[in-house]
Amino acid sequence: MAATTLAQAVRDHVDDGATVFVGGFGHCVPFASGHEIIRQGKRNLTLTRTGADILIDQLIAGGCVARLIVGYVGNPGIGLAHAFRRALEAGSLTLEEWTNFTLTLRFHAGRIGVPFLPTRALRAGDMPKHIADLATLTCPYTGALLTAVPGLCPDVALVHAQRADEDGNVQLWGIDGDTCEGALASRRIIATVEEIVPAERVRRSPELTVLPAHRVTALCVVPGGAHPSYVHGYYTRDDARFAEYDRLSRRPDDLDAFLAAHVHGVADREAYLGKLPISDLSWPVHHGPGGRQ
């Protein structure tokens, strides 16, 4: 598999109306890919992931999103996702709401190729009532009443990771969350990475490989592609940007201005990073080897 540009990968593999899994559980959030989707004006997307943070909010503000399948949408540790909240209160967004566990199970079912999985969650409270056609079933061995969650196979996944080899074997370490489960459930995967390393290096640490080459549809080298989230071992979380986003996203005009400057107003991630204050350019900071030694 030949590496490509992110612009090309998004053009080729993210269709209007597609269901898009957005990787990154706080860690390795694929901001570069999401911004490219906004820039290219993709429309009517269904976005899915368990805990959705401000990248999802930006995609909503960017006009790309018709529907969410999520377990949480917010600005973690800070507050609400304001574009999401406004869209929902205005009725311009369809929401299919799960819990982080049960949505993980939907991806898991997709990944291992079964149409549903049973769970002991979603048995009580108001959440099950608001999921259309949610099925229950009886365990044929114990008689226990369980909830069945349907498998979910997104059309395409966006994943950012530390590194890959040229064949497309992607290595990710640090927090995973639902990233690999969701990506491996998806039909196609667009992987952005901080760097390409020789195949020998990947094959010396095969336990760090999370997406095998045969599953990766497009591989793009995009250093800094997860900012303002972080990449374990490369650069840390830019917490100030998340706090700033809470302020600027409260007013639609300010949010539009942010997107105009930092998304539409830049050609690519390199240009995006060039516009950041110097203090945010704390990457790359390699955190040292870790590993087996």
Binding site: F25, R85, T99, R120, R123, G125, D126, H130, R237
Partner: protein, 249 residues
């Protein structure tokens, strides 16, 4: 000043709910602070588990997100959501620590919506893992500042099932545990037949202050305990943690 005392009481009292060697599924915010306090005082061998997949976590600073660097960097194991929710579903999590926008007298939690679900007055973040923790942990503890508008007879939406309604509705749904305590900055409530009852007040607050503004008749234990304070070492640990900025550190 009163707010400071309440915050400290809440964190310190909640930390006491976690015993040493227990496994604890931890949420962000007050739950993280309480769990970190427990690790630094009476429960150094408690196993802190975050929904991002971190197991045996020991963050140096209060995390902003379950996926934050400080959670990853010092963890004993980094699995994924399925690993940790699997442990939860298999009944291997002793304690969940949860907060929410609203809690009701039966310990039901709302983090989804204020107002009607279909026509929200204020749309909140949603369950995340809270519903799962409340359903599947062997017990859970609710951490809630003493804000009467958030302590209500009935939540607008049951995101995370507490005791549902008085009775055995929870057991009928095949759920474990349920809330064992609700901690505010003024007191500790336990659940009797599924309904919260005041069992302890924290100095300097009285029973009346612990119930101030609550709009239904909350039962008070006959032998309600009065906690005059917390261990000096725990107070020191709180002061050190509280000085740290939340975030990546």
């Amino acid at each position: 000043m009163t707010a400071d005392i309440e915050s400290r009481n809440l964190a310190l009292a909640a930390s006491l709910e976690l015993s040493d060697d227990e496994t604890c599924f931890v949420g962000i915010g007050l739950p993280s602070l309480a769990a970190m306090l427990a690790k630094r005082t009476h429960a150094p061998r408690a196993h802190l588990i975050f929904e991002s997949g971190a197991i045996g976590a020991d963050p140096r600073v209060p995390p902003l997100s379950t996926g934050s660097p400080c959670i990853a960097e010092n963890a004993a194991m980094l699995g994924d959501c399925l690993d940790v929710f699997g442990e939860l579903q298999a009944g291997r999590i002793d304690l969940g620590l949860l907060s929410a926008a609203q809690v009701d007298r039966f310990g039901n939690l709302n983090s989804t919506v204020i107002g009607d679900y279909e026509a929200p007055r204020l749309r909140l973040v949603g369950s995340g893992g809270a519903h799962d923790i409340a359903s599947l942990a062997n017990r859970f503890v609710i951490l809630m500042p003493h804000e009467p508008r958030r302590l209500v007879p009935k939540v607008d939406f049951v995101t995370s099932p507490g005791h549902l309604l008085v009775g055995d509705e929870r057991a009928a749904a095949g759920l474990r545990g349920g809330p064992s305590a609700l901690i505010t900055g003024r007191g500790r409530f336990s659940f009797r037949c599924g309904e919260m009852a005041l069992v302890e007040v924290f100095a300097p607050f009285s029973v009346d202050e612990a119930l101030e503004g609550l709009t239904w008749p909350v039962p008070v234990d006959e032998a309600v305990m009065r906690r005059s304070g917390f261990a000096p070492a725990a107070i020191d640990a709180y002061a050190r943690l509280e000085r740290l900025p939340a975030g990546t550190g």
